[in-house]
């Protein structure tokens, strides 16, 4: 299944010898990622036949053409921080590490968009944009997540969704090397008018780029993308405080930056919490608002320190379960003090209506919360440091009321496993819940479990949770096709499209045809997408 020398040479001729390898030692650094034990029952996914580091759109086109000629599977990735980045349907596949394509091409402050290459991570773009009073919506995978990966290829949910939207709604332009090796540049970028609209002429081809989730490298390579920018109300630069002996994980901004205010609010119940998110969204006042979720527990310098802090807080009367079940965190921001005052007044009014209690936050706590909400600092720590792995299921986007139903069903499903100590108890079932676009586009919800992939009982528990929540005939069938049909799940393993398509308006029929159309020789790896024909 490996490449022949001729095939390898053809690829080497494109990128140069220093940018390609088929050394087994190197190849096995491209098939180990979190989540693999869950999906493949071992840390290793399929070993690629080669790893290639292309440096330009032209090189990628040439590579795609070689792959078509020799029928070699290929998959691109940027940060490579997801299961889907490396999964290959078979060993006759190559991985395209886009590390060398890392330019921020343009930040158009006035017209509020930025054009980037694949290896630009979200925090880097945020910091560059902040200098000019703008920023880009956050991504759940944290500061290292690729802008293009999030907006075009994978998922794209984040804490700021109430004010920045997400899930592909921010894409204003794309340059796309198709599986055939042809290039499709969408919208205004194709005509040379600029990078401000990816829609048209006529129907928008963003429709084939991605849906609620992206193709995860299954239909070519996105080599440039233009994304919407949003207002940043803080200073052009921020600096995390330094104290002798304080490791980076303990650093904070010291206080919430000027222009912003942070709140943590306890509500009477989960139902009221949902109502609060809806109302705050509708009030159009928040830069971020979400269920406290991952921010419930202190981060701590390490797990031991976190545990000590949790015990101390519990001894002092903190009930984490309350926070987990029925609290929210809010960031308000404005260019002017009067704008901020209004937003705070409205927030307090909503709290009064819902009998919410604003919890006191020290400067430090507010600062930690700010960095977590604005840039997802701490989220990656919470996802992985505890046990080494996490999963999100059930997950969906929908009307608030049905998302509440899903939440209740999720708790009912997962709580017994928490009670048995098989997955981490973070208060209750951890929850990532955010209103989209000021609650006009529903809620985004992820129910998060932290399991130890190397503990057989914990692994089994997680598999059961996923099996039950992704059963198209089970109690979760009404909440949408499970999480991306290929996002954190691998289609070759889960067969989600085959199982869910028939009960969701046969969407899979269209998706397969789109894939077939884009990729007639089936060289775009479909592990986290869909094949033209199910094997």
């Amino acid at each position: 299944m490996a490449l022949t020398d001729r095939e390898y040479q053809a690829l080497e001729d494109i990128v140069g010898a220093e940018n390609i390898s088929r050394e087994p030692a190197f190849l096995d650094t491209y098939n180990q990622c979190w989540g693999h034990k869950l999906v493949f029952d071992q840390k290793f996914s399929t070993r690629p036949a080669a790893v290639v580091l292309p440096g330009s759109t032209e090189e990628l086109q040439a590579i795609a053409k070689i792959c078509n000629k020799y029928r070699i599977l290929f998959k691109p990735f940027s940060s490579g921080f997801e299961v889907v980045s490396f999964a290959l349907a078979n060993e006759r596949g190559i991985l395209l590490d886009l590390k060398r394509m890392d330019r921020i091409i343009e930040i158009d402050v006035k017209n509020m968009h930025a054009v980037v290459e694949p290896y630009v991570n979200i925090y880097r773009l945020q910091r560059e944009a902040m200098k000019h009073g703008v920023t880009v919506g956050s991504l759940g995978a944290g500061p290292s997540a690729g802008v293009i990966a999030g907006s075009c290829c994978h998922f794209g949910a984040g804490t700021t969704m109430t004010s920045t939207g997400g899930l592909g709604r921010n894409v204003l332009g794309v340059e796309w090397v198709l599986p055939t090796g042809d290039v499709l540049t969408m919208g205004t970028a194709e005509t040379g008018a600029g990078w401000f609209s990816a829609d048209g002429p006529g129907p928008s081809l963003r429709g084939v780029l991605r849906g609620r989730s992206g193709a995860n490298g299954g239909h070519g390579i996105i080599t440039k993308a233009s994304v919407k920018l949003y207002p940043w109300y803080g200073p052009p630069e921020v600096k995390f405080s330094e104290q002798p002996g304080l490791p980076a994980s303990g650093k904070t901004l010291g206080e919430v930056p000027q222009g912003y205010k942070a709140f943590m609010i306890l509500l009477p119940s989960t139902e009221v919490m949902f109502e609060a998110l809806l109302r705050i969204g509708k009030a159009e006042i928040a830069s971020c608002v979400m269920a406290t979720g991952p921010a419930v527990l202190p981060y701590g310098e390490g797990n031991d320190e976190q545990w000590a802090e949790i015990q101390k807080m519990e001894a002092a009367g903190m009930v984490f379960e309350d926070l987990a079940f029925r609290s929210i965190v809010v960031l308000l921001g404005s260019d002017t003090s009067r704008g901020l005052e209004y937003r705070e007044k409205y927030l307090l009014e909503i709290m009064r209506q819902l009998e919410g209690v604003s919890l006191p936050l020290t400067s430090q706590q507010g600062a930690v919360m700010f960095a977590g909400l604005m840039w997802h600092f701490g989220f990656v720590t919470m996802a992985f440091r505890r046990t080494g792995d996490f999963f999100v299921s059930p997950t969906s986007d929908g009307s608030p009321d049905i998302m509440l139903k899903m939440r209740n069903a999720a708790v009912e499903l997962i709580q017994p496993y928490i009670d048995k100590g098989l997955v981490v108890n973070t208060g209750k079932v951890d929850l990532f819940l955010i209103p989209s676009e000021n609650s006009t586009a529903g809620f985004h919800e992820e129910n998060v479990t932290y399991y130890d992939p190397w503990d057989p009982d914990s692994l089994q528990a997680e598999r059961e949770i996923i099996q039950k929540s992704e059963d198209p005939n089970g109690p979760f069938k009404s909440f949408g096709v499970p999480h991306l049909g290929g996002g954190l799940t691998i289609e070759t393993v889960s067969h989600n499209h085959q199982r869910w398509g028939p009960i969701y308006d046969n969407y899979d029929m269209w998706l397969r045809q789109i894939k077939d159309m884009l990729d007639p020789n089936s060289v775009g790896d479909w592990s986290a997408y869909i094949p033209g024909v199910f094997p």
Binding site: P203, G211, Y342, G485
Partner: protein, 488 residues
């Protein structure tokens, strides 16, 4: 007549029309698209009927042209491009399926117009996000599918807003409900579960909503859609910001857009503003002489729980921004133009006569996407083009509408002319067709390529055309859906 019989069996005998006068009314419109008479007009009244019609069309290889709005029509997208076509007139599908104040969502069938929807929304405490004074017979669904820009850019998150999702019958005859509307339950059953079909994210890894938007009915027929609505305003503070030149207004607009401050936000020239406010040519002429050349229209809608506070702070910020933008002076009235009166006009579809037809009886539009900062160049270019064809720039209305929260703008030129004046019509025709090439060369993006613009747009978007043709083969393999439109 066997095929007609089978069609009648689907929609009912009275809903298959072949009266010449009726057919004539669908064979042309106020655009310059050549006249082509359809074979029949069918008027389905349900999704099932629409689906069966499409299946029938596949079986008989009959082109279909969907129409949802009433007359007058302007774009040419509902004129058949080929003989033997059947018009599928959805204007009879008038169910307002659901209005939800809490979710701020409405669900409407294809034939519901703004004139019908808006009063119902208001009863529920909501208002539609409307394009600029649409004609009364304009289908809400068609407006959204055409990506007509709304007048409130802060609420325009994505190009397709306020469109959320819908039910689609593709050219194959297959039905698909999109996004949250999809799934094992019926639409009504979903409501009971708390699923209000309000999430615009697609079902899976392609976005069916995007594929039907801007498609001019070439991919299929949308039978119903859900849309975002806004809370009705308890009151509003409305302003007109006059300026001799457009540039300071752009500066002010950028500031407002960045902060998502304000609701209605667009720029017009004197002629267009006068046409909106006045009723007949005499009034329009008189009013425009008193108006400044350019006006920025801004409103601050008092809604939600603290409407006065909301409006107060936004207005205060706005005034500071205006000062920073070359000392602009927002006003409630300027020389006979009253902002509050304009606000009332903006809250409903256009009265008759349709505002664009008041000045000269005829109007042809040129519109495209660009960025705000480039609009002065286009204004200048349009004026020059007009003069080169001896069309007076004084008869051109200008409407600049920021879209997608200000990341771009819809730039529109309204060429007012007398329909009976053939020479003038010829000049307008040239400007709208070949003249648009000049604008495209300057960077105008004809994202909604009606009529001649399809040639202009697709000649510059060949990769897109190739891809769209491939998609067409998937969703309409027999090419029965509005063939000849766009690049098909």
């Amino acid at each position: 007549m066997q095929t007609r019989t089978s069609l009648e069996e689907i929609v009912g005998k009275n809903n298959v029309l072949d009266d010449p006068a009726v057919l004539d009314s669908y064979s042309s419109d106020l655009s310059f698209v050549p006249k082509v008479r359809p074979k029949w007009v069918v008027k389905p009244s349900s999704t099932v009927e629409v689906q069966e019609v499409i299946k029938w069309a596949n079986a008989t290889s009959t082109p279909l042209v969907p129409v949802s709005s009433g007359t007058p029509r302007f774009r040419g997208d509902t004129i058949p491009r080929t003989g033997g076509a059947v018009i599928v007139d959805l204007s009879g599908m008038k169910k307002i399926m659901r209005i939800d104040l809490i979710s701020r969502v409405a669900m409407v069938e294809a034939g519901v117009t703004f004139a019908e929807l808006q009063p119902e929304l208001e009863k529920a405490g909501l208002s539609a996000y409307m394009p600029l004074c649409p004609k009364g017979s304009k289908s809400v669904l068609a407006s959204m599918l055409e990506r007509e820009p709304i007048t409130m850019p802060a609420h325009h998150w994505d190009c397709s807003d306020p469109f959320l999702l819908g039910e689609y019958i593709f050219g194959t005859g297959d039905k698909m409900r999109s996004g949250e509307a999809s799934g094992p339950e019926t639409t009504e059953e979903k409501w009971k579960l708390g699923n209000y079909q309000m999430t615009p994210m697609a079902v899976s890894q392609f976005d069916e909503n995007k594929l039907v938007s801007g498609a001019q009915g070439t991919m299929g027929i949308v039978t119903w859609a859900s849309l975002k609505c806004r809370l009705i305003s308890k009151f509003s503070r409305n302003f007109l910001v006059p300026s001799e030149n457009i540039e300071p207004l752009l500066e002010l607009s950028y500031q407002l857009l960045r902060g998502r401050i304000g609701d209605h936000l667009f720029i017009m020239n004197d002629l267009n503003l006068a046409s909106l406010l006045a009723r007949d040519p005499g009034e329009i002429n008189a009013l425009r002489e008193t108006l400044p050349p350019w006006v920025l229209v801004v409103s601050f809608e008092g809604n939600g729980d603290l409407p006065e506070d909301k409006v107060a702070w936004q207005e205060a910020d706005f005034r500071e921004m205006a000062t920073r933008s070359g000392g602009l002076k927002p006003a409630s009235t300027i020389h006979g133009a009253d902002a509050d009166e304009l606000s009332q006009i903006l809250s409903r579809p256009s009265d008759d006569p349709y505002w664009k037809l008041r000045y000269k009886g005829g109007c042809s539009d040129i519109f495209f996407l660009t960025t705000l900062d480039k609009t002065p160049g286009f204004v200048s270019a349009m004026s020059g083009l007009a003069q080169s064809r001896r069309f007076s720039p004084r008869d051109i209305g200008v409407y600049i509408q920021p879209v997608v929260q200000g990341t771009s703008c819809h730039c529109e030129f309204n060429l007012f002319h007398e329909p009976a004046n053939a020479a003038e019509a010829d000049r307008v025709k040239w400007l709208v067709t070949e003249g648009s090439v000049n604008l495209a060369n300057l960077g105008a993006f004809f994202s909604r390529p009606y009529g001649y613009w399809a040639k202009v747009a697709y000649s510059r978007a060949t990769e897109t055309a190739i891809m769209q043709r491939k998609l067409k083969k998937i969703f309409d393999p027999k090419d029965i859906m509005n063939p000849g439109q766009l690049c098909f």
